[in-house]
């Protein structure tokens, strides 16, 4: 076994090309570092299982950014699909000069921005409300009120200009720092701060009624 490989857990699969995959995709986080050079190298060689492992490690992140940017599940699925297809077709070009995370973030951000530019219409669904009523731990009233508030916030965010919206999503969906956002978006940290500040002002004005109810 290669000394650089992570430890093998009971039930893992030994995949040709030195990639180990857990039997359950839910266990991936235990054994697979998303930046694992071995996995990326295996993807470059066209290893199907390595790509699946990479997909499992990053699918929620990619889908969430797309969903929060568009406010629409169907559009988010399109964007997430396009992102992984671009990743697959261009992973040969990933040289490791930046982190894999930053590289993937740039792909999904550009796919989001391109998606909007294509002019496809986005129709928000009542997913939050439907999810809320399916959750049994609280009263229906509380769940509906909170889901309605979250829906309102998402709709207002979805109306921000794209350059502000993507910064908001990277900040609050992904929790990235100004410097990290700046690297992904390709601007200075000061510009990120400025865009966030403008977005906050717009959102505070449009969501003032939520503050009154807190």
């Amino acid at each position: 076994m290669d000394a650089g490989m992570p430890p093998c857990y009971p039930g893992d699969l030994e995949i040709p090309g030195r990639i180990r995959l857990p039997r359950s995709s839910n266990q991936l986080g235990m054994v697979l570092d998303a930046n694992d050079h071995e996995v990326i190298e295996a993807c470059r060689r066209g290893d199907y299982d390595a790509f699946r492992a990479l997909f499992e490690a990053h699918k929620d992140r990619v889908y969430s950014i797309a969903l929060r940017y568009t406010g629409d599940r169907a559009a988010a699925m399109d964007i997430a699909q396009d992102t992984f297809l671009k990743l697959l077709s261009s992973i040969q070009n990933f040289r490791g000069n930046s982190s894999f995370d930053s590289w993937l973030y740039r792909i999904v951000v550009n796919t989001c921005l391109d998606y909007k530019r294509s002019g496809r219409r986005v129709i928000p669904f009542l997913d939050g409300l439907l999810d809320a009523v399916a959750t049994p731990a609280e009263s229906v009233l509380n769940r509906l009120v909170r889901a309605e508030q979250e829906q309102t916030v998402q709709e207002i965010v979805a109306r921000l200009p794209p350059e502000q919206r993507i910064v908001v999503v990277l900040r609050y969906t992904e929790g990235l720092s100004y410097d990290q956002i700046a690297e992904i978006v390709g601007c200075s940290a000061g510009t990120v701060a400025s865009r966030l500040n403008r977005a906050h002002k717009v959102l505070e004005r449009r969501l003032a009624h939520l503050r009154a109810g807190r």
Binding site: D60, L126, V140, L144, S177, V192
Partner: protein, 169 residues
């Protein structure tokens, strides 16, 4: 000057809560594996799903515009309406008492339950078709027990009250 990242304003807390990360649907892997097949399948499914609520929506608003004159069964008894709808469409629709005005058959698999709320007409359209959940300011659709429900209110202010009972079960 970059803003310090320590103090959180209320809007930041609101955004963190509302924009939190979610899980990707299972079918995403299928779409990545077979992108053309998946998109074609989704397009077909979307067109089929989209057609049903659109037809239901037209039916509901057509009814509203005529002040709901076309009720076939006039009753406020939930049990009577439930059995009448089941006999005519095969749909089993559990109903609560209150504000019921009657029902009508829209098609062999679709029924409309009529309510009268504060002097205004409200319609609940039930079908065994399978559209995706959606809403605009005055209507919402959802699925339960293999049936699709579409609720439409003439006035937006009626909407939340209707959703409370119907979506909350």
């Amino acid at each position: 000057m970059v803003k310090p990242e320590t103090h959180k304003q209320w809007i930041e807390e609101e955004l963190e809560r509302s924009l939190r990360r979610v899980s990707a649907p299972e079918e995403l892997w299928d779409r990545v594996q077979s992108p053309q097949q998946a998109r074609a399948r989704l397009r077909t499914r979307f067109m089929a799903w989209a057609a049903v609520p659109m037809l239901m929506f037209v039916a509901v608003w057509g009814t509203h515009s005529r002040n709901n004159p076309a009720i076939q069964l006039h009753s406020s008894d939930p049990a009577e309406i439930r059995s009448w709808v089941k006999a005519n469409t095969g749909l089993d629709v559990p109903l609560h008492a209150g504000n019921l005005a009657g029902a009508k058959v829209v098609s062999s698999h679709t029924a409309e339950i009529a309510y009268r709320v504060a002097g205004r007409d409200v319609s609940l359209v039930v079908s065994d078709a399978r559209p995706s959940a959606r809403r605009n300011g005055r209507s919402v659709s959802w699925m339960s027990g293999g049936q699709t429900y579409l609720l439409a209110c003439a006035e937006p202010q009626d909407f939340k009250a209707c959703v409370m009972c119907h979506v909350g079960g």
